[in-house]
Symmetry: C2
Subunit: 359 residues, 2 copies
């Protein structure tokens, strides 16, 4: 969808201001400037250098946070600041009568998030979280394969992201502002998994790593056990100089794998379980029948089509809901579940044990 020019016809047309002009704030400003439903009033950052960077792009910079919030021309506010400042800013903006989009992770605690949701309800305003990785093509390819049923019901799923730069050196390496990889990338990968597997979670097991710093986790390996028996492995690593595959899917009638987010999903669909003759193979220093490769006649191997996505749909959906149409793509109840999983993951990592839950 690309309307070419901004229109208030079918779409609800809204005016935004962005609090924080770091990496994410700049991303929002760029998208809003190119949106068919949104216009940008301006931004404000507590760091003057970032305000200068915004001005250099021709973006209006408010004199203060207060000036931004007081601007009656602003319909909606995007909060893109360090994680520990989200709560106060979201609640302030809602109380000024603004609709609000908050960056992820929305809050460091479930209780903090509940207060935001309660304020939005009280003020009659729309509030959502920028879970932008709902638009990741690799995730959508996996979700599409599960939903199509083309390789049967899901058994388990693995989602990994392997980087090699360690924990970032900005506020994200500090505990107080909400740094660490569970909060930074975990929030995305958990959210994606919960969109693919809708069943209740009954057990969470998580290990964290502290290879490049001691204050916050620089990676984790998380297992979610669902009431249905399904399982998800979620791994984020920042000290891996060779990456493992991004996604792996095991289903009742086949498997799927995505090597890298730039690649197509490979699918192997089982067409017949039994094979006539299985010849044991020499595998390194032993013979094996169990691990012998399958006859090609019993597998249909292909590449899944790569979904096309438009990240502007996030703003289109938000503006539509603010105008009373439809429902949010990123629902507060979904965001809350992700926070509950992260809380359980922290508990599991701390006590070195499985955490029973009902999420």
């Amino acid at each position: 969808m690309s309307l070419g020019e901004k229109t208030s016809g079918e779409l609800n047309f809204m005016n935004f201001a962005v609090i924080g002009y770091g990496g994410q704030g700049a991303w929002h400003c760029d998208r809003i400037l190119n949106s068919d439903v949104a216009t940008l009033s301006g931004t404000y950052d507590i760091r003057e250098a970032r305000n200068e960077a915004a001005r250099a792009k021709g973006i209006h910079v408010y004199d203060s946070l207060e000036a931004l919030l007081q601007d009656t021309a602003v319909d909606a506010v995007v909060v893109a600041t360090p994680n520990d400042s989200h709560n106060a800013l979201v609640i302030s903006a809602l109380r000024r009568g603004k609709h609000v989009i908050c960056e992820k992770p929305v809050d460091l605690t479930v209780a903090g998030f509940d207060a935001m949701v309660a304020t939005a309800k009280e003020m009659g305003k729309v509030f959502t979280v920028h879970q932008n990785r709902r638009w990741d093509v690799d995730y959508l390819a996996m979700k599409g394969i599960v939903e199509s049923g083309e390789i049967g019901d899901l058994i388990d799923i693995e989602s990994r992201i392997h980087g090699s730069r360690g924990i970032p050196s900005d506020w994200r390496c500090e505990k107080a502002p909400g740094g660490g990889m569970i909060l930074d990338w975990g929030v995305h990968l958990i959210d994606q998994i919960l969109q693919i597997v809708k069943d209740p979670i009954v057990r969470v097991v998580c290990d964290t790593t502290y290879i490049t710093g001691q204050e916050v986790d620089d990676g984790f390996f998380l297992t979610l056990h669902f009431a249905s028996g399904k399982r998800a492995h979620i791994e984020v690593a920042t000290y891996n100089f060779l990456p493992m595959p991004r996604f792996y899917l095991r289903c009742q009638s086949g498997s799927a794998l995505i090597e890298d987010w730039r690649k197509h999903a490979q699918v192997a669909r089982l067409t017949a379980w039994q094979e006539k003759d299985v010849t044991p193979v020499q595998n390194a220093a032993g013979i094996t029948r169990t691990m012998a490769p399958r006859d090609e006649l019993t597998l249909d191997c292909y590449e899944a089509p790569r979904p096309t996505v438009d990240v502007h749909d996030f703003y289109r959906n938000f503006c539509a809901v603010c105008g009373g149409k439809g429902e949010l793509i990123v629902k507060p109840a979904e965001v809350r579940r992700v926070l509950l999983v992260m809380e359980a993951a922290f508990r599991s990592a701390e006590c070195h044990s499985a955490v029973a839950c009902s999420i």
Copy 2:
């Protein structure tokens, strides 16, 4: 090492009989027939069809188990029968004054294994287990990289084997004879890991799968936590139609990966941690600096040499030790540790929780 002809010169020359002529028994007979230290007296299987198969290969078949054990020309016996029959056969053979090699897993319980070891000691005979996958080239490549220190100290290691044929349909799909993948392939992969990581194990977490049958596990995901903080993930799967990489190694100064046992290990060695400028990259529907690829100038990427192995070294070592020279490659104390890990893995899978231990 290939001496061309059998000699009792430097090597201790011995005469073997093999109990059981299934897949493993036939493997032993073939190796012994081609050994430079061993000769084969014959074999015996309780299934007449298997005895026929041995005869067809020109192998002498004893009239009974008793006849095999009574043959004073036999110095050593190989036990290659279903797992639940190992104990009685190993102890019988030791009591007849034979040295004994037993197939893996040597026993279903640690207590059973201890009785075998005690009998060997009492009889003054040599007893070992055929952990043939100590000679796997993929495992040896990983072990070599860790031991060389070329990419620094180990942080964690992953070992996977993914097949697609489900649980085997013979006795290995039944609980009583000791079927299931923890006992079948787990015993190899755990043994390999404990040869690479020598630290005490303090915690074991294991999940099992029952996709192709309910009686025994047809796969598992096992995590070993070592007292040193190191970690190992071990996975065996029999319902994966696309395989994940065989080995992954994360070390303090690099990573290594083996895609498949037939392939060379890929190594990425870190040459400098800091990079001048890191440009955030667009990764699917978001930007990331943390997960941006590394500058090639800070990584040295290469293929590790593929070790050369000779499985006959297993018999050479055994015969040498029977002759009073050297020590066993596969030591009873090492075998016992693997059994302890498997017991902890079963407990963890059963109670859905981490099992604290001191192994």
